[in-house]
């Protein structure tokens, strides 16, 4: 069976009949999501519970951390069905993305991480919602409402924080530090992996398209909505 957007692969079982490079491509995506959802929850969401300024925000952050761990569990379960070794789906077995190298120290930084990184994640998941491998498409659909909530949480909390002069300074400083790491999240220009993903309808857009979409949406948020400044960064990874 050929794997294209017009002929979706409906199950993990059917994946075995797909071309080798299709199987490899899907495995890479599932593995990456499993690793990075877990690592993000560990280095950002769980430590942020201690940083949250009120019980309300601590409990909300508890729930967000649970949901991020839950995303890892869902991707890991799909990976297990596909025969990916468990050791390849944890940060101990595979190196996480560079956006997690930012050392989280303050509540304002966490709010900015949710504002920026969860928007970037939404753009990736939006693309997977048309994925030719239906188990991955279904997973994207289930995950999306929680990703949207996390990004909205970032927007809402940053909106509250910038109402004071001190909060405004802290949010701007966090954006200045964190935002330059974001463009690389979308992968290299003219990426061979991305070309393979698009060839098979696993992903729809180039890395450059997704990065450009992110930069437009984040500019609207940071400069249009929060009235802060987005630092200049090299757009090509």
């Amino acid at each position: 069976m050929s794997a294209t957007a017009a002929a979706p692969i409906k199950s993990v079982g059917a994946l075995k009949a797909a071309p080798d490079d299709y199987q490899l491509a899907v495995r890479k995506i599932v593995r990456s999501h499993a690793v990075n959802e877990l690592y993000g929850a560990r280095v950002y969401d769980e430590p942020a519970i201690a940083l949250a300024p009120t019980p309300y925000l601590k409990w909300l952050t508890c729930r967000i951390a649970m949901e991020e761990y839950g995303h890892h569990v869902r991707f890991r379960q799909l990976g297990e069905q596909m025969g990916i070794p468990e050791s390849e789906m944890t940060p101990e077995g595979r190196k996480p993305l560079s956006i997690f190298e930012f050392p989280l120290q303050t509540w304002e930084e966490f709010c900015v991480v949710k504002l920026l990184a969860d928007l970037a994640e939404i753009i990736q998941v939006e693309d997977l919602m048309k994925c030719s491998f239906l188990p991955l498409r279904n997973l994207a659909k289930v995950t999306m409402p929680e990703e949207i909530f996390h990004s909205q949480f970032g927007k809402d909390t940053c909106t509250e924080l910038v109402k004071t002069g001190d909060g405004r300074k802290k949010v701007q400083a966090a954006i200045d530090h964190y935002f330059p790491m974001m463009p690389a999240f979308f992968g290299k220009k003219d990426s061979a992996n991305n070309a393979l993903y698009r060839k098979y309808g696993i992903k729809q857009r180039t890395n450059e398209d997704m990065r450009a979409d992110f930069l437009k949406r984040v500019r609207d948020l940071v400069e249009g909505h929060l009235k802060l400044k987005l630092p200049e960064v090299a757009e090509a990874a």
Partner: protein
Amino acid sequence: MSGAARSEADAAFARLAGFTAKIPRLRWFAAVGTTLTPPVIAAAETYVAALGLAPCPVVTVGGWREAAATAQRPDWSRDWWQAEGACERALQGQAAAQFGLELLLAALTDVTEAAAGIRDRAAAALARAGLADEALAKVAAGAAAQACHQQGLALLAGDAAAPAFAAKFALFAAGRWPLGIVGGTCFVF
């Protein structure tokens, strides 16, 4: 592991499995907004005393909006939150030493997964009050999941290891939401 240690571990994990199975069946948030009964007040007093904190009045709040506002007051007790954290860390150290960290975390993951559905119960309770507030449903669910995690730890460490977490969980199991100590008062929704 010796035979006695294995039997103790089996008993602890059986306690935890029973607790985990019970989580979806509880009356989450079913009694919020109702008058506090003497057993509820007694559980709240036990919770405060077992954390090593000074006795304080136990008071309810009238509705979800007031509960949300109470949980956002700036005068919440840092001592209360830190006392819970210290108790949690002690239990985790104790249970990890007994069973190994990997096994402990795997068992607690089951508890967390069982607690994931509490969001829907909170959203349903909000809907009964005529409210649709996704953030508040998640706040309540986060508080309840934290209580499940803490009680799970206590059960693994031994039945009587943490009376504070048992009392706190009993409040949730009675359909309430303990909002903690704010402004010198223990609020129970």
